[in-house]
């Protein structure tokens, strides 16, 4: 650590005045970032991560103002600069990358011009020089054929390329500090890996400091040198990455780690979840803000506020009763002194029995779904088709959880929608029990719908905002004319109980609940008709880690109690691994590998599966920082005109001419029903068959 840090934030306090109240968004934040260092800022949504970034940039929302503390960049105080002086700092000395590259780019300007704009603003350059600078910067961020791309408009670029363009914009003036606010949250894991690599490379080459704001502990583990964990508008723990992961001292940090599904992926144990909700910041508690949710909290925690301190200056935390072990500093390294590991028994594994002897609950054979592309308003000529699902076959057994993973646009959600009857298959068969569901009319399908229900990703969008919870939960019963009024009311009360909500929830509207509570309501609605199978489309991807674990535990418990069968669709491989018995990996409408979860994870056969697994950030810095593999290069090709032969060949490291000519069939690998479709697999196919 150098003597003077590049950025020093001291006791920063930010408020947002609303109509009737004031949100104390930041309640005294302390941060330092050195040259050439990446500081990771983590925490749940609403903890003040983004507000910290925005306060440093002084780009606060309406009614927001910095009410105390200091922000100094290179020894210069930013909080009392005039607006004009601050404009000179933004983009020039501090660059910023936002979460959504599409809404942050101007759709009517070429990206070259947009990058050049900040050069023109901050440097005395001609337009021509600025454009040259833009192309250079695009090359720097690894944009393929940068000179041509500079003339493109944002809509002509893919998501990953847009994010590269955003980074180029932030870097055009060689800022000393780069603030990346959830830079990869909107991207697929494979692209996320590429973008994080770009940011890391550039940090080293340009000698910048980086503040990486994210909710993803895996991303932090791989990219950050030091970490600040935030909770309810305060930093609760800060130290270097290795120490934090090895010996977290604040109970909140510890709880965050324990809530990660990969912790229990192999054992299948119940995940730890943090009870309750973060405090309301319009009236922040004067005591420890985490105390109401903390399992170690004592009277002192509820009475006074712990300062951010520690045994060493390198590892500081705000807790009276820290977890982990006491430390001391040895030559700039933090060393744990005594190993007093606290062992938390998280309760028994949730055993779910798969009933293979009954034969498959669901059998999907050669399922195909093409979405026609039409032209013309009246005649609607068909000019092409998006091949969303191309010849997919799989089976799911009663009581099983079948996980479907893949990048966005691979057709996994379309399969879910086909199964529940929201889309009609172009060809192929879906047999549920002994009934054929594909190609049936809505009217004939209606009575069977109750057996397969859908759980949506966005619990807010999937609940009618004008209905009370009791009406929402009663609706499936009314639709299917189940029982009389009293029986329905009883069933609704029972459902609310089953998903762990209090009865008072019945009279409320969806917007009065938090994200996790709403997802419980969505789950309860899916359960209302006593379905045999539930298709869960990204049910936890909108939720924070601590809430996510609550919903996952609940899903597992109710599967055990009710004998449910799940089709679990997600892009998050660690969640899929935790929950699933078997996994199918999809790529561009094709099922490329399917097998038992452990086998697919430990012994993948398909190059795509391997790349996908490598791309997933692991919340363990020693694993993450030693990874050599690049994951998957490039981006998903268009499904309108998919590559011939093997669809993955355009991104595959082992592709040969055979791959373009012939489509590989799904062949068995090993004795445990592990199949993959690859001409040049990572291990040999089992002989015979």
């Amino acid at each position: 650590m150098s003597a003077v840090a590049l950025l020093e934030v001291r006791d920063l306090r930010t408020q947002i005045r609303l109509k009737r109240s004031t949100v104390h968004a930041l309640g005294g934040v302390d941060l330092t970032v050195d040259v050439g260092e990446t500081l990771g800022v983590v925490g749940e949504s609403g903890c003040g991560k983004t507000m910290t970034a925005m306060s440093i940039m002084r780009l606060l929302p309406n009614g927001g103002s910095i009410v105390g503390g200091s922000v100094s960049l290179d020894g210069r105080e930013l909080t009392n600069l005039s607006e004009d002086e601050m404009a000179e700092v933004r983009g020039n000395e501090i660059g910023m990358i936002f979460q959504d590259p599409m809404s942050s780019l101007n759709p009517t300007m070429t990206i070259g011009l947009q990058i050049a704009e900040s050069v023109l603003l901050h440097r005395k350059a001609t337009k021509r020089e600025a454009l040259e600078r833009a192309v250079d910067t695009l090359k720097l961020v690894g944009m393929p054929s940068a000179a041509q791309r500079a003339k493109n408009y944002p809509h002509q670029l893919s998501g990953g390329m847009r994010q590269r363009a955003m980074i180029a914009m932030a870097l055009a003036c060689e800022p000393k500090l780069l603030i990346a606010d959830e830079p990869t949250t909107a991207l697929d894991v494979t692209v996320q890996k590429q973008i994080l690599q770009v940011i890391n490379d550039l940090k080293d080459r340009l000698g910048m400091a980086v503040i990486l704001v994210t909710h993803d502990l895996g991303v932090i583990a791989g990219s950050a040198d030091r970490i600040a964990v935030m909770y309810a508008g305060k930093v609760v723990e800060t130290t270097d990455t290795k120490t934090l992961f090895a010996n977290s001292r604040h109970p909140y940090t510890e709880a965050l780690f324990e809530a990660l599904p990969e912790k229990a992926a192999e054992s299948g144990d119940r995940l730890y979840s943090i009870p309750g909700l973060p405090p309301d910041l319009t009236d922040p508690p004067t005591a420890c803000r985490f105390a109401p949710r903390c399992r170690y909290a004592q009277d002192r925690c509820r009475g006074e506020e712990p300062p951010l301190t520690g045994e060493t200056q390198l590892h500081r935390f705000a807790c009276f009763f820290p977890t982990g072990s006491v430390e001391r500093a040895v030559g700039g390294e933090v060393v744990a002194v005594e190993q007093d590991a606290v062992d938390h028994d998280l309760g028994a594994k949730i055993e779910v029995e798969v009933r293979t002897d009954e034969g498959p609950a669901l059998r999907v054979v050669n399922l195909v779904k093409d979405f026609p592309i039409t032209a013309g308003a009246v005649l609607r000529r068909k000019v092409g088709a998006v091949s969303a699902v191309a010849d997919v076959s799989f089976e799911i057994y009663p009581g099983e959880t079948f996980g479907l993973v893949g990048e966005s646009g691979c057709g996994k959600s379309t399969i879910g929608r086909l199964l529940v009857g929201l889309e009609r298959a172009s060809s192929g068969s879906v047999r549920f029990g002994d009934r054929e569901l594909a190609g049936q009319s809505d009217r004939r399908l209606r009575p069977y719908r109750r057996d397969i229900q859908l759980m949506f990703q966005d619990s807010y969008a999937s609940l009618d905002p004008r209905m009370r919870v009791k009406t929402i939960l009663a609706e499936p019963l009314n639709v299917q004319r189940v029982g009389d009024r009293a029986a329905r009311a009883a069933r609704v009360r029972e459902l609310v109980d089953a998903v762990g909500l209090s009865q008072s929830a019945l009279e409320r509207y969806p917007h009065e609940f938090s994200g996790g509570q709403r997802q419980r309501i969505g789950f309860a609605r899916a359960l209302a008709l006593n379905p045999k199978m539930i298709v869960a489309d990204e049910p936890v991807s909108a939720l924070d880690v601590s809430i996510q674990s609550q919903v996952l535990n609940l899903m597992k418990e109710l599967q055990r109690d009710l004998g449910l069968t799940y089709l679990f669709i997600s892009h998050d491989l660690s969640v899929v691994r935790y929950l699933s018995d078997r996994i199918g990996v999809m790529y561009l409408g094709k099922l490329v590998e399917v097998g038992p979860a452990e086998s697919v994870y430990s012994k993948p056969v398909h190059h795509y599966t391997r790349g996908l697994l490598d791309a997933v950030p692991v919340a363990d810095p020693s694993v993450e920082q030693e990874k050599e593999s690049k994951g998957v290069t490039g981006e998903l090709p268009s499904a309108i005109d998919p590559p011939s032969g093997c669809r993955f060949r355009t991104r595959c490291p082992a592709a040969q001419s055979l791959c373009a000519e012939q489509e590989p069939p799904l062949v068995p690998f090993g004795p445990d029903d592990h199949f993959a479709a690859c001409h040049f697999p990572l291990r040999e196919a089992s002989a015979g068959e």
Binding site: R20, S273, P275, G276, L277, R295, A377, V378, V420, G421, L422, L445, R446, R449, R450, Q453, L454, F456, D458, A461, S462, L463, D464, P465, R466, E475, P476, V479, Q480, V482, A487, R488, A490, R491, E494, L495, D497, A498, V499, G500, L501, S502, S504, A505, E507, R508, H511, E512, G516, Q517, R520, R525, A528, L529, N530, Q550, N553, E557, D561, L562
Partner: protein, 312 residues
């Protein structure tokens, strides 16, 4: 109770979280949606003003004649164009000897009745038309929208004049004529709203549970579109009152002895250069007030519907 599944037979919730109540409790007082909307409405000062004006006008027109008796049937040539303040005539009399204040009340009844009835008819027709077009889509939508385009291409004042001149000028026919001219304003709005609402996930959720078209339209799409519709209805009512005033002003309004504010204005303007201001200002101000009132109410309702879903 065959419906009740095995859920109930078992332990209600096997400890979901260390403290299940913490996950289930919802902060804050429970308030009904209507109450919350009313709160937002009454925060809007202009909305309250608009509502106040409307209430006063309605009381004035419909209850006023019970306390202030005048003869609005027989002309009285002995006392024409008396100035305001003349004994027994606080607002004077008009050129035919009718008491101006009493006439303002009676005329207001017609204006409000025709305006509100015509506005409601236009709203119902327009809403259904737009909802059908948006929900069913495809060629039905294309056809309905082209018809609407064609109807739009006719100047509405011309249609209004033609219809009023041909089908007669009773209260009922004027309601129909104005209603069927103004309905054009709503379909596009409702269609757009329906198009977005029908792709919402909660509508898809109904389809997954096997719900039919009727349930989707009446239970989910219309209740969620009602805010947009109600707001437009207030504006259309203002338009309808204005349309009636226009018709009456050019002499194609209600037939005598019925009268509305536009008709009063019409007869008053003939004498405006003679200094008979009391024949012009009272009906003119009444028209302006009622139109402004409806517009203020519409604005406040828009706020109320928009914020109704926010936690406050």
């Amino acid at each position: 109770m065959s419906v009740v599944s095995s859920l109930g037979a078992q332990d209600p919730v096997p400890d979901l979280t260390p403290t299940p109540s913490a996950a289930g409790d919802v902060a804050g007082r429970q308030r009904s949606m209507a109450r919350r909307m009313a709160e937002v409405f009454f925060e809007n000062k202009l909305g309250v003003l608009g509502l106040g004006i409307l209430v006063v006008l309605v009381l004035f027109c419909f209850l006023g004649p019970m306390f202030y008796h005048t003869d609005q049937i027989h002309t009285n040539i002995d006392s024409t164009t008396l100035t305001p303040g003349s004994p027994g005539y606080p607002l004077g009399t008009d050129q035919e000897g009718y008491d101006e204040l009493g006439r303002l009340m009676v005329a207001g009844q017609s204006s409000l009745e025709v305006g509100i009835a015509a506005g409601l008819i236009a709203s119902v027709v327009g809403t259904l038309y737009g909802a059908v077009s948006g929900y069913f889509g495809g060629w039905i939508d294309a056809l309905l929208m082209r018809i609407l385009d064609a109807a739009y291409s006719l100047p509405s004042i011309f249609v209004l004049l033609y219809l009023a001149a041909t089908v007669g000028r009773s209260k009922f026919t004027l309601i129909m004529v104005i209603g069927l001219t103004l309905w054009l304003l709503l379909p596009r709005l409702v269609r757009g709203e329906t198009l977005t609402l029908k792709t919402r996930e909660y509508v898809q959720a109904v389809r997954v549970m096997g719900g039919g078209t009727n349930r989707i339209i009446y239970r989910h799409i219309l209740p969620n579109a009602i805010g947009t519709i109600v707001v437009s209805v207030t504006f259309i009512i203002a338009d309808a009152i204005f349309a009636l005033s226009t018709l009456s002003f050019i002499g194609l309004g209600l037939e005598s002895p019925q009268i509305d504010w536009g008709g009063m204005l019409n007869s008053g303007t003939s004498y405006v250069f003679d200094g008979y201001w009391w024949l012009v200002y009272p009906p003119g101000i009444a028209i302006i007030l009622v139109i402004i009132a409806f517009n203020f109410i519409g604005d406040a309702l828009r706020d109320a519907f928009e914020t109704r879903l926010q936690k406050r």
